[in-house]
């Protein structure tokens, strides 16, 4: 399972970075999205993939009888997803506004502030 996920993460990173280097703003934002999905899956995989119950102790139990799944990576990913959702929404608005102001979605045209 780890191997499959590692390949998936690699593909997500490669695809994300490739799209970010394309000249189109829409491709740029899809690339950013893929990149953050890759990072989330990476946390998920690195946090340990195992079958286990919910990490909740039943009444009267002091220790887990079966080793439960680690809830922390999932909490981290949830936070990261919310953040990347908000940031992507903002980036979409920014890109739309830029498109309206500048009149092009070509990143190579946006050189006004480079020199």
């Amino acid at each position: 399972m780890e191997v499959v996920l590692a390949i998936v993460i690699g593909v997500l990173y490669a695809g994300g970075l490739y799209l970010m280097m394309r000249p189109n703003l829409i491709q740029l934002i899809i690339g950013l999205g893929l990149l953050s999905h890759g990072a989330n899956l990476l946390i998920f995989t690195a946090g340990g993939l195992r079958k286990g119950g919910a990490p909740i102790l039943a009444d009267g139990e002091k220790v887990f009888t079966i080793l439960p799944a680690d809830p922390l990576p999932q909490a981290l990913i949830l936070t990261a997803i919310v953040i990347s959702f908000a940031v992507t929404a903002f980036a979409l608005v920014l890109f739309l506004r830029t498109y309206q102001t500048v009149g092009t979605a070509d990143v190579d045209e946006l050189k006004g502030t480079d020199t």
Binding site: M20, L25, L28, L32, L35, S36, G38, A39, N40, L42, I43, F44, T45, A46, G47, G48, L72, P73, L76, T79, A80, I83, A86, V87, F90, A91, L94, F95, R97, T98, T101, V102, V107, L110, K111, G112, T113, D114
Partner: protein
């Protein structure tokens, strides 16, 4: 007081919420912003006096014990930076009260400023990595909007680069966090430090260290990852740029200092050598790029990069004296850089231009403003007895002791070129006669002008005072550096035990 470490986060947050309630009342927003920044500054001073004797203040939010709950940690370095961030928020709020156009205030400049301060202060007190990440995102999101606020074409173009590269750096940071968690099973910085020290994990730690170096390096503006900075920082109004230049890149530098003195110290030969090489190249490329520009904001923005080089130089040398130099340099550059941008903004407000070739003769018209600029510019270049001199002196002595002759030469040469850039601004904007006289735009009455200049005067006085009382500043910085070089105190304060 037990709640003290959390107040620098809560106060600006409360201010921002109040500002949003007073959405239509712009004067109320301005006053709320000034008041909450002043309170934040006061609280930070109180925190500084708490840690003055070398204690480390630790707060476990909700009483959840250290490695499991959210931990806020304030050591000397964090306390110094909190005081500076409070001072900067206060100065920029007062400046923006008079100096920012109504449209941007109407679209929420002040609440955004305060939310950014929430993120900045949160990053300084965060005791675990995931919180650091979240605070980074808070300050980044607020800074995205501040940068684009106003929607002028250069701002939008700059924002796209800023947003894209910062998101890339956050993704790297997040991936690094994930791998660290998988490796060590914790994200609490103190426990991470302990785990990494106890059982090496060699190669994996190294890889994560490089990911963090890249992630924070982009945010701090380190060579060769700084190209977003000169493209985006000069585009918004001076109040925004001043705040960004004073605090945002410094949060990146702070994160680098924290991680590379606490956790990633297993192979200083390689890692800190890499940082030192990066620091030297950052200085040189920044200062050379500045020499080619003829726009005040551009010159100052590219100089942020070369100043970051000095800050990282101390980290790269990795000795107590060098880190002392880094801390003094951080204090110095946050104050002076913000002040220079505010002064450039004041010039722009008077004459409507940042262009060196169009401006001129300001010394005759506004001697007070000119002297403030002169003092800050000379302090940046490192002339005695101003703050920059002692900061650079400490760093260079540390480099001499480490016998890194190359970095000594680079630091001195870059300092000279900084002097060249600063005298260029001085000569063009203030000294030479104006090519064609520009009319005073929007002349302020005397009293208002004085209040407008008040934050700049205060900051200039502080940069002189740091030079005059260099001894006691050195003592504080040395204590901060001592805590950084010997992380066992930090670890013990957070986790307790041996």
């Amino acid at each position: 007081m037990i709640l003290l470490p959390v107040l620098p986060i809560i106060l600006p947050l409360a201010g921002a919420i109040l500002c949003m309630f007073a959405r239509r009342n712009l004067v109320a927003q301005k006053l709320i912003s000034i008041l909450s920044s002043a309170l934040m500054f006061g609280v930070s001073i109180a925190l500084l006096s708490e840690v003055r004797n070398g204690d480390i203040v630790v707060m476990n939010v909700g009483q959840w014990a250290a490695p499991f709950g959210i931990t806020l940690v304030v050591d000397m370095l964090a306390a110094i930076l909190l005081v500076l961030s409070g001072l900067m928020a206060l100065s920029v709020s007062i400046y923006a009260y008079f100096g920012l156009d109504q449209d941007r205030v109407r679209f929420g400049f002040f609440p955004l400023l305060l939310i950014m301060m929430v993120g900045v202060n949160g990053a300084f007190v965060a005791g675990d990595l995931f919180n650091l990440y979240v605070w980074f995102e808070v300050l980044l999101t607020a800074s995205f909007i501040l940068l684009a606020l106003g929607g002028e074409r250069p701002q939008l173009e700059g924002s796209i680069k800023y947003v894209t590269l910062n998101l890339l750096s956050s993704a790297l940071f997040l991936a690094g966090i994930g791998i660290l968690y998988g490796m060590a099973g914790t994200l609490n910085m103190a426990q991470l430090a302990r785990v990494v020290q106890e059982d090496g994990h060699g190669g994996l730690v190294m890889m994560v260290a490089i990911m963090f170096l890249m992630g924070f390096g982009i945010k701090a503006g380190m060579f060769p990852l700084y190209f977003w900075l000169p493209a985006s920082y000069p585009t918004p109004p001076a109040a925004v740029t001043a705040l960004f230049s004073g605090l945002l890149t410094k949060v990146g530098a702070y994160a680098l200092i924290r991680m590379f003195t606490l956790v990633f110290i297993t192979d200083p030969e390689f890692l800190h050598g890499l940082i030192l090489a990066g620091a030297g190249l950052t200085m040189v490329s920044g200062v050379l790029a500045a020499a080619s520009h003829y726009e005040m904001r551009k010159i100052l923005a590219v100089h942020i990069v070369s100043q970051i080089g000095y800050v990282l130089m101390g980290l790269g040398l990795f000795s107590k004296l060098a880190l002392t130099g880094t801390v003094i340099y951080l204090i110095h550059v946050i104050i002076v850089k913000t002040n220079l941008f505010l002064l450039a903004g004041a010039v722009h407000r008077l004459k409507g231009s940042y262009d060196l070739k169009k401006l001129g003769g300001l010394y005759k018209e506004r001697p007070g403003l000119s002297i403030l600029f002169f003092l800050s510019a000379m302090s940046l270049a490192g002339l005695p007895p101003l703050s920059g001199f002692f900061a650079k002196l400490t760093l260079i002595i540390a480099a001499l002791r480490a016998e890194s002759w190359l970095i000594v030469g680079v630091a001195l040469g870059v300092s000279l070129l900084t002097l060249y850039s600063m005298t260029k601004i001085w000569a063009y904007v203030f000294w030479k006669p104006a090519p064609e006289p520009l009319p005073d735009l929007d002349p302020m009455p005397k009293g208002k002008w004085f209040l407008f200049l008040l934050p700049m005067m205060t900051l200039t006085v502080i940069t002189i005072a740091i030079g005059v009382f260099a001894g006691s500043v050195f003592d504080y910085a040395e204590m901060a550096a001592g805590q950084l070089m010997d992380p066992s105190g930090y670890i013990q304060a957070v986790l307790g035990g041996e």
